[in-house]
Assembly symmetry: C2
Homo-oligomer: 140 residues x 2
DNA sequence: ACTTAACTGCAAATAACTTGCATTTAAATA
DNA sequence: TATTTAAATGCAAGTTATTTGCAGTTAAGT
């Protein structure tokens, strides 16, 4: 399943097909939410991948445009596979102020701004919605 | 000038008018850019304010809606006074990928998203533009 | 002047990430 | 298939922004 997919993505990006990276990428491909290194370490099954290697792999994935990185406000990076292949985010992200979970709003586009005047070069945009996720808002 | 203004803001927020907080708030009021704790420590003149106290004051300011906090991607908070008084950001922010400087795009509004369906409660939105600032883009 | 809750400083703790370096290994090449 | 090599890994240690605990100080209300 995602295994071949992951291997293929690695190949196309010119990366070595190691057990660790295949498992990591597979996990990200199957996750609907962006994951932190800790979450990844907890969820990785069948492979032991040192947390330093996880960071380095994620960095490589981001450099290759395979994933993007988001910041949820708790000073931890989270990572999600990225369909657009670009450097920035391809959609807005929702962050729950209560449980801290992050979510890709895949159906939506990041709205354009009415042109940043002057000599600024805009390379990427990020749009975060913060509030209560479905679960937390119903738990009140 | 900003001194009275700062004192007045503190009073309205029910905070004590200490030399440290007045100087801190004055500095933020006069800064056109969001500032990090380190930048603040470097820029504060005439007063010694321990960096822990700076953090605690900034936290209090944010709680009171006096300032907002932004994340530039380098894992450091930056703070700027906030005209809208709300909890979220009142405008988009620009972050330079080269020099790391942050900037409030005060003239602009954060665009609305076409309604986040389902039972999500959106409390705040944050919009970041990342790229090269005027100085860095001309330095190439 | 007195009282008190807010504010402050210092030292130490957290925690997420990064770096250096020696070892392993996938995959290109002979 | 054997050889080579650059990429990937693990471990230990380092970095650094931010937080926490606690004891001492002070603004401001009475």
């Amino acid at each position: 399943m995602g295994e071949n997919n992951a291997a293929e993505i690695l190949r196309k990006a010119g990366m070595k097909k190691t057990a660790g990276r295949v498992a990591l990428l597979k996990l990200l491909l199957e996750s609907e939410k962006p994951l932190s290194q800790q979450e990844i370490s907890r969820m990785l099954k069948g492979v032991e991948l040192n947390y330093v290697s996880i960071y380095r792999s994620l960095e490589a994935f981001c450099r290759a445009g395979i994933t993007h990185r988001i910041e949820t406000g708790d000073r931890t990076w989270r990572f999600a596979v990225c369909s657009c292949g670009g450097r920035g985010h391809c959609h807005p992200h929702f962050i729950c102020n209560s449980c801290g979970a992050a979510e890709c709003l895949r159906g939506m586009e990041i709205p354009e701004l009415p042109a940043v005047n002057r000599e600024y070069v805009v390379e990427a945009t990020e749009f975060y919605l913060k509030g209560l996720c479905a679960r937390c808002s119903s738990e009140v």
